[in-house]
Symmetry: C2
Subunit: 250 residues, 2 copies
């Protein structure tokens, strides 16, 4: 089959794009001041073109012919944050007819975790059209372009589920961490307080976290023991191993 131009071609098959929901853990702010807690933040991009010009949207773009889905998602992430993902996983393919006015676009969406960085770390992208927002700020999320509010909420829900049965919490952290830091991650993701004793027992049992001989000094009081993750160290799962995401409750 041959087609005279792109319009005819477009009549046959929808556009294909890849977008990425990126989460990081940062200090929670109230009235501009840190509360002492941590929360989930995500980077958004301000649209400079119609449709939804001026509104915030998820990073994304068309998929190249010689580009895997994962590569495209990691590319979104690098372009937006300058960082590499410590976790990257397919979320869902969104294919509703009216996600975008005029065009029909199918978006394959990934979600990613990145390690916390100081907001003024040198490798972070400095771009007036990129900004970080609290992932649970309803005013921000509801105002997103396209169906991105729905996508962000779904990604948040997936992250919550995954943290409960899988050990990905450490991917927000560095190679050495205290159990209190892991608990901070859980509390930020699940958005509720956990009992330290039970949480500690839970971690000892079911996850690939093991104690080291080191302790974190420099705090104000008793230094906590440092732990490390002892599972497979693969930062980015392979395209061919979709041994991921499966336990969403319906």
């Amino acid at each position: 089959m041959e087609f005279a131009n792109v319009s005819e071609r477009q009549a046959m098959s929808p556009e294909l794009a890849v977008s990425t929901v990126i989460f990081a853990l940062r200090d929670e702010l109230r009235d501009g001041e840190p509360t002492g807690r941590r929360t989930l933040w995500l980077p958004l991009i301000r649209r400079t073109r119609e449709p939804f010009r001026g509104q915030w949207a998820l990073p994304g773009g068309p998929l190249g012919v010689r580009q895997t889905l994962q590569d495209a998602a990691a590319g979104n992430l690098r372009a937006t944050t300058g960082l590499a993902p410590s976790h990257l996983e397919q979320l869902y393919a969104f294919g509703g007819l009216d996600r975008s006015p005029a065009h029909r676009v199918v978006s394959i969406v990934y979600w990613a975790l990145v390690r916390e960085e100081h907001p003024d770390a040198p490798q972070l992208v400095k771009d007036p059209h990129v900004a970080w927002f609290p992932a649970r700020d309803e005013a921000v999320i509801d105002a997103l372009a396209f169906d991105h509010a729905e996508i962000v909420r779904y990604a948040l829900w997936r992250l919550q589920n995954k943290v409960e049965y899988s050990s990905i919490a450490h991917r927000f952290l560095g190679p050495r961490f205290t159990l209190a830091q892991v608990q901070d991650v859980y509390e930020a993701v699940l958005d509720r307080r956990l009992d330290a004793a039970n949480f500690r027992r839970h971690l000892r049992g079911a996850s690939g976290i093991e104690a080291t001989d080191e302790y974190l000094h420099g705090g104000k009081h008793r230094p906590p023991r440092l732990y490390r993750y002892a599972g497979d160290a693969a930062v980015v799962p392979q395209e061919t191993t979709n041994t991921e995401e499966q336990r969403d409750r319906s």
Copy 2:
């Protein structure tokens, strides 16, 4: 941007297709004779064109511009079996570079459950290029076209996971069923025997299954009580509600 022809256009964006893995429960056969147990079967389509001409493949096809992903998946199912899905859910988007020789194709794959039908039921599609196979027959699955073996195995794994924490087992069955029938579904999907007493207690607790006043007569011995599913009756989840699949263990 304008393009002179489809080749140029294709250089910009991969093809987009939708395929569907369809499961039904049927009598298990050994040497052509029923064993008394049930197992999972799936319908496959024999390819009549290159590539992989003559090999079996999952039903699928290109996505139309005004067609939702779910509609395309349900269309696969109807064309292959003549049946409507009692469950339909997105599985994964497969986007490896070399899934298909020469072309770059991204496939968004769904998985579906259909109620058991007698293999010679009138509404079933009669097509020499369609045949049903046991879903765990490694010789069949390994010989599938493209990366469909990987896809089928992933779908099976998802179905197993889902049946353990969700109540979809009844979607293999009619509106009224006995607990033994539900147990048969679980045993076929999980591929192991379950203790009837514990299984019964499990069902009473966590799922939307409730007893009716009816009993199934006509058996050889004590007639079992009939149950029904009391949850939401939606046969096909909405495109916009992805409250699905999330608990895969990684």
